[in-house]
Assembly symmetry: C2
Homo-oligomer: 110 residues x 2
Amino acid sequence: MAKGKYSVDCFQALSDPNRREILMMLTKEKQNINAIADNFNISRPAVSKHIKVLYDSGFITITTQGRERYCELQQQGFDELKEWISFFETYWTKQLKQLEVFLKTRHAKK
Amino acid sequence: MAKGKYSVDCFQALSDPNRREILMMLTKEKQNINAIADNFNISRPAVSKHIKVLYDSGFITITTQGRERYCELQQQGFDELKEWISFFETYWTKQLKQLEVFLKTRHAKK
DNA sequence: GTAATATGTAACTTTTGAATTACGCAATTT
DNA sequence: AAATTGCGTAATTCAAAAGTTACATATTAC
């Protein structure tokens, strides 16, 4: 498998529900850390750490504007995920072919 | 978002490297618990628990044959993942459109 | 310049999860 | 029927992750 260029792997990043929620929120609009934190019960520093994980796993970019840091979705993290899934796609198509062969054989025997 | 029918969510299941490795192994062939455990340094009971998690999240089916339990990949778990990703696809296409508009506008101004 | 804002980080606590050992039990084997 | 095999599970330990509070710092506002 491809070795990720990120210090945190995408699966670990997505294992936390709050982090997934943050990603969801970022589909609506670019937001700074405090704005994101306002939507959660957990403390601002906790959110800050989640943001770091999402950054370190390629799911978001961060743009500093003065004292604010704006977070935006980034494709890389999602791509790693998709790549992993695609590995299994070959398995399913192979399964499908075996099913076809089986059905054909059964038909022939009839 | 769709509420999963499984007691363990797919992201939690995939967060452990050993569990992902087990899924990889199952692309080669159907295997029983002990056969799977032989490929890991961790104990058999540990593997047994991982198997349970993979089962409870829809990534594998288990077929009991006498005293053996054969594990096989199942699509459901993977589908949940794909569904989650597809939610973000709309975001990316929207981004792409905005880029187009931006480029067109810039061209017009010239 | 002083106050307020936006944030990162360190120290610590709490929670969660992975691993192990020990055991029990049902299906085979001999 | 006794021994072996293929598991599941409970009890426990250990480590990693998530959360909190407290504090430091840079920017902006007044």
